[in-house]
C-alpha cells in the first residue's frame, strides 16, 4: 500500500508539468493577441489618411507645466474631405467627436470609438487663419521690448468673431504675457490644451486696454470611413510615406522579402539537396565525409550575426555587390544551406536500403537509382524541409541588418542590384520609432509575418502527414 503523500506528490508534479507546457502555449497566444490588439488601430489610422490628413505630435512649453503635447495636421491633401471641412496644414486638432485629443493616438482611438460617418472635429487654426499676420513692433508700454500687433484680421476668423481689429496689440493670453508672434499662438494652444475653451485676451487698442473673450476653436464635419479590409489592403499595397505612420506601407518590404528569399532559394536549395545526395548516396564513410559533416554542423550552429559579418565582408564588399538584393539572397543562402542539407539527408535516409538494392539489381546505374527510385520517395520530405527553411529565411533579420539593408526604402526594388528592405527589418525600424502610430505598423507587419509563417508551417505539416510513407 502506497502512502498517500507519495501519490499527492505525483499529482502536484503532473500538474506542474502541464502548467509548464501551458506557459509556453499561453506565451504564443498572448503574443498574438497583444499584437492583434495593437494592430487594431490601423483602421482608424487609415481613415484619417483617407480623409486627407496626416497627423504629427508636437509640444508647447507652458510656464509651470513643462511641455504640453498637441496634435497638428502635418499634411492636408488638396481637395480632400479634411480640406473641404476647412482644415489646413498647421492647424491644431483639439477635439474629435466630443473627446479632447492631445496626441495622434488619441485621435485614432476617438475615431475607433465613433465608427463610420461624419464626425465633428474641432481645431485651433494656424496663426494666419486664427488672427492673420502679426507684426512685431516696439512695445507700447515698455520701449525697447517687442510688442505684437495684428496686421490684418482675416474674414470669418476666430479673431474677427471675437471683435479684434487690425492694429490691436496683444498684451496677454489667458493671463500670460505675449512676447513674440509665434509665442502668442503657442500660448493659445497651450491654454486650450489645458482646459478652458474661451480664453481671456488682453489687448491694447489706441491707448486703451481692453479685455476680450476669445474663442479660438473652429469646428467642422469630416466624414471618416474606417474600413478594416481596405485599410489592410492599402497598407499591404502601397510604398507610402515613411514620415507619417498613417501613410506608410509594406509593399517595398514585401517585394524585397520575396526577391531576397527567391535569390536565396535559387542558390541554397539545389546546393543543399545536392550536398545531401552526395553525402547519403555516393559518399562512403571516410575522413573526408566526417570532416564534411562536422563542418556542416558548425555552419548550422553559426550565429546569424556571424553569417551577417560574412555576407557583409565577402558579398557586399569583396564582390562589390553592396547592399543589393543579390548580396542579401546569398547571405540568407548561407544561413539556410546547412538546414537544407540536414533536412534533405533525413528525408533521403527514410528511404529503405532495399529500394536501392532492388533497383540496382535490375541494372539501374547509381544515378538512375537516385533519379527514379530514391528521390521520388524522398521528395515530400525534402520539400517539407525546404518549406521550413523558407519560413525561417522569411523571418530572419539579423544577417541582413548587418549587411546594411535599408530599414525603409521608398521604392520597389526593380533589379537584383537594387537596395532593398525586408519585412522583419521594416518591423525592426517601426518598432524602434517612438512616434505614435509606428508600433501599430510594426504590429500589423508582424501579423503579416506570422501569417506567412503559419501558412508555410501548415503546408509543411500537411505535406509531412500526407506523404510520409511508413516503410514496413
Amino acid at each position: 500500500m502506497r502512502p498517500k503523500w507519495r501519490k499527492g506528490r505525483g499529482t502536484v508534479f503532473g500538474a506542474l508539468s502541464v502548467g509548464a507546457l501551458m506557459v509556453g502555449l499561453l506565451a504564443l497566444a498572448t503574443m498574438i493577441a497583444a499584437t492583434v490588439l495593437q494592430a487594431r488601430r490601423l483602421t482608424a489610422m487609415d481613415a484619417t489618411s483617407q480623409a486627407g490628413l496626416a497627423l504629427s505630435l508636437r509640444s508647447v512649453e507652458v510656464p509651470g507645466r513643462e511641455f504640453v503635447p498637441y496634435v497638428v495636421a502635418a499634411q492636408v491633401d488638396p481637395d480632400s474631405a479634411a480640406e473641404r471641412a476647412g482644415l489646413s496644414r498647421g492647424d491644431v486638432l483639439v477635439g474629435v467627436g466630443g473627446s479632447a485629443v492631445s496626441r495622434p493616438d488619441e485621435v485614432w482611438d476617438a475615431l475607433g470609438k465613433l465608427g463610420p460617418g461624419s464626425s465633428t472635429v474641432s481645431w485651433i487654426p494656424k496663426p494666419e487663419k486664427l488672427w492673420g499676420p502679426l507684426r512685431a513692433v516696439v512695445h507700447p508700454e515698455r520701449p525697447g521690448e517687442l510688442g505684437v500687433t495684428l496686421a490684418a484680421v482675416p474674414v470669418g476668423s476666430p479673431a474677427e468673431r471675437a471683435g479684434l481689429r487690425p492694429g490691436d496689440a496683444l498684451i496677454s493670453v489667458a493671463g500670460l504675457p505675449v512676447t513674440g508672434t509665434r509665442q502668442a499662438w503657442e500660448l493659445v494652444v497651450g491654454a486650450v490644451r489645458q482646459g478652458p475653451q474661451v480664453l481671456t485676451l488682453v489687448i491694447e487698442r489706441g491707448r486703451e486696454r481692453q479685455e476680450l473673450a476669445f474663442d479660438p476653436i473652429v469646428q467642422g464635419e469630416i466624414p471618416f470611413q474606417p474600413e478594416l479590409w481596405r485599410a489592410w489592403g492599402r497598407f499591404l499595397t502601397r510604398i507610402g510615406d515613411p514620415r507619417y505612420p498613417e501613410r506608410a506601407g509594406l509593399l517595398s518590404a514585401l517585394v524585397g522579402s520575396l526577391l531576397v528569399v527567391g535569390v536565396m532559394a535559387l542558390f541554397a536549395f539545389p546546393l543543399g539537396v545536392g550536398a545531401a545526395v552526395y553525402l547519403e548516396e555516393y559518399a562512403s564513410q571516410n575522413w573526408f565525409t566526417e570532416v564534411l559533416q562536422v563542418l556542416i554542423a558548425n555552419l548550422a550552429g553559426m550565429p546569424s550575426a556571424v553569417v551577417g559579418i560574412f555576407g557583409l565582408e565577402i558579398f557586399a564588399r569583396s564582390w562589390g555587390l553592396g547592399r543589393s538584393v543579390f548580396a542579401g539572397g546569398l547571405t540568407l543562402a548561407l544561413l539556410v544551406l546547412p538546414m537544407t542539407i540536414v533536412a534533405a539527408r533525413e528525408a533521403l535516409r527514410t528511404v529503405p536500403r532495399w529500394v536501392r538494392e532492388a533497383a540496382a539489381s535490375v541494372g539501374a546505374t547509381p544515378w538512375q537509382v537516385i533519379r527514379f527510385h530514391v528521390l521520388p520517395y524522398a521528395l515530400p520530405g525534402i520539400f517539407t524541409g525546404i518549406i521550413l527553411a523558407l519560413a525561417r529565411a522569411l523571418g530572419e533579420a539579423a544577417p541582413l541588418l548587418l549587411l546594411g539593408a535599408f530599414l525603409y526604402v521608398t521604392y520597389v526594388p526593380q533589379s537584383l542590384l537594387d537596395s532593398f528592405t525586408i519585412v522583419p527589418l521594416q518591423i525592426f525600424d517601426w518598432a524602434t520609432k517612438p512616434q505614435d502610430g509606428f508600433a501599430e505598423l510594426a504590429a500589423a507587419a508582424i501579423l503579416v509575418l506570422i501569417a506567412m509563417h503559419l501558412v508555410l508551417n501548415s503546408i509543411a505539416i500537411v505535406l509531412r502527414n500526407r506523404y510520409q510513407r511508413r516503410w514496413a
Binding site: 502506497r2 501519490k7 506528490r9 508534479f13 503532473g14 508539468s17 502541464v18 509548464a20 507546457l21 506557459v23 509556453g24 506565451a27 546546393l271 543543399g272 539537396v273 550536398a275 545526395v277 552526395y278 548516396e281 555516393y282 559518399a283 562512403s284 564534411l292 559533416q293 563542418l295 558548425n298 555552419l299 550552429g301 553559426m302 550565429p303 550575426a305 556571424v306 551577417g308 559579418i309 560574412f310 557583409l312 565582408e313 565577402i314 546547412p338 536500403r353 536501392r356 540496382a360 547509381p366 544515378w367 519560413a391 522569411l394 523571418g395 533579420a397 539579423a398 541588418l401 518591423i427 525592426f428 518598432a431 524602434t432 504590429a443 508582424i446 509575418l449 506570422i450 509563417h453 508551417n457
Partner: protein
C-alpha cells in the same frame, strides 16, 4: 551515415569487377553526375572554411594593435572615443546575464514540458503539441523583440518594477527564455523519450509511483542528453541578435544590472556594422574580432552538446 551503401561500393576503386558493365557513355554521365554532387558538398566545406578564415584573417590587424588580454579582460568598450579602448568583459558579462535570465525561464519550463509530453501525455496530445512547439520555435525573433520592447517592459514597469528602464536586459532575457523554451522542450523530450522502456518497467516493478519513475529514473537516465539540450539553448541565446538589439538597448552596463540598458556581443556587432564608418577604419577589424569570439564560443558549446548527445545515444542504442 550509412557506411555500407552497396551502390557506392560498386563505383569505388576497390570494388570487385562487376558482372555487368554499363556502356561507356553511360558511365561518363554517371561520373559527371557524381562529381556535380561532390561539388555541392565541397562548396559547403569551402563556405565554412572561408567564414572561419575570414574571421581569423580579418581580426589579425585588430590583435596586432590590441592585446588579447586587453581585449578579454578590459572593462571598457569605447572604440570611437579617444582614447579608444576595446575591452569586452562588460559586454560578455551583459551577454551572460541576459542568457542567464533566459535559461532561468527556459530550463525549468522546458524540462517540465518535456517531462509532461514524454511521460504523461498520450499519443494524440503529443501529435498536436509537438507541431505547435515547432511553430513557436520558428516564430521570427524580431517578433519576440517587439514583444519584449512594447509589452513586457511596459507590463513590468506598471506592475512591480517601476524603476525599470525603457531599454533593459530583464525583459530581453525573459522573452529570450520564451524563445528558446520550445528548443529546450523539444530536445529534452527527444532524449526522455529515448530512455529505454525497460528502465521504467523495472522501476514500476519495484513499486515506484509514476512521479518516482520520472524523477528518479527517467530524468537521471536522460541527464546528459538534457544537459546537451541546455548547452545548445545557451548557444542559441548567446548568438541571438534581434531581441537584444530591440529591447536591451545600446549602452554597456557595468556592473551588470538587468534593469538598465545592456549591450551584448551581438548588439555591438550590429552597432559597428550599421554604423557609418569609413571603409578603412580600424573599427572594422574589431567587428571581426567580436565575430570570432562569438563564433568560437558558440562553436565550443555546439560541439560539446553534439558530443554529449552522441555519448548518450551510444549508451542506450
Amino acid at each position: 551515415m550509412p557506411a555500407s551503401n552497396p551502390l557506392s561500393r560498386q563505383a569505388g576503386p576497390g570494388a570487385p569487377p562487376a558482372l555487368f558493365r554499363p556502356p561507356s557513355g553511360r558511365s561518363t554521365k554517371e561520373r559527371l553526375i557524381r562529381s556535380i554532387f561532390l561539388a555541392c558538398g565541397l562548396l559547403a566545406i569551402v563556405i565554412t572554411l572561408a567564414a572561419a578564415g575570414m574571421l581569423a584573417g580579418g581580426s589579425v590587424p585588430f590583435f596586432q594593435r590590441v592585446s588579447l588580454g586587453e581585449f578579454l579582460a578590459g572593462l571598457k568598450w569605447s572604440p570611437l572615443h579617444e582614447p579608444s579602448s576595446y575591452g569586452v568583459l562588460a559586454l560578455i558579462a551583459d551577454t551572460l546575464v541576459i542568457t542567464g535570465i533566459a535559461l532561468l525561464v527556459a530550463l525549468p519550463l522546458g524540462l517540465l514540458s518535456a517531462v509532461f509530453l514524454s511521460e504523461y501525455a498520450n499519443f494524440r496530445l503529443r501529435q498536436v503539441v509537438k507541431p505547435i512547439l515547432e511553430i513557436l520555435a520558428g516564430v521570427p525573433t524580431v517578433v519576440y523583440g517587439f514583444f519584449a520592447l512594447r509589452f513586457v517592459t511596459p507590463l513590468l514597469q506598471r506592475t512591480f518594477l517601476p524603476q525599470l528602464q525603457f531599454w533593459n536586459g530583464l525583459s530581453a532575457g525573459l522573452v529570450m527564455g520564451i524563445m528558446i523554451l520550445p528548443l529546450v522542450a523539444s530536445l529534452s523530450e527527444d532524449v526522455l523519450f529515448a530512455v529505454p522502456r525497460g528502465l521504467r518497467e523495472a522501476a514500476y516493478a519495484l513499486g515506484a509511483t509514476k512521479f518516482e519513475v520520472t524523477a528518479r529514473v527517467v530524468v537521471p537516465a536522460a541527464f546528459s542528453g538534457i544537459g546537451a539540450a541546455f548547452i545548445l539553448a545557451m548557444s542559441r541565446a548567446i548568438g541571438e541578435t534581434m531581441i537584444v538589439a530591440l529591447a536591451a538597448g545600446r549602452t554597456p552596463a557595468w556592473p551588470p544590472n538587468p534593469t538598465q540598458p545592456m549591450l551584448t556581443l551581438t548588439t555591438t556587432i550590429v552597432n559597428i556594422a550599421t554604423g557609418d564608418h569609413e571603409a578603412t577604419a580600424f573599427i572594422w577589424s574589431a567587428l571581426f574580432a567580436l565575430g570570432l569570439l562569438l563564433f568560437l564560443t558558440t562553436l565550443v558549446l555546439n560541439v560539446a552538446s553534439h558530443l554529449i548527445v552522441r555519448r548518450f545515444r551510444q549508451r542506450y542504442a
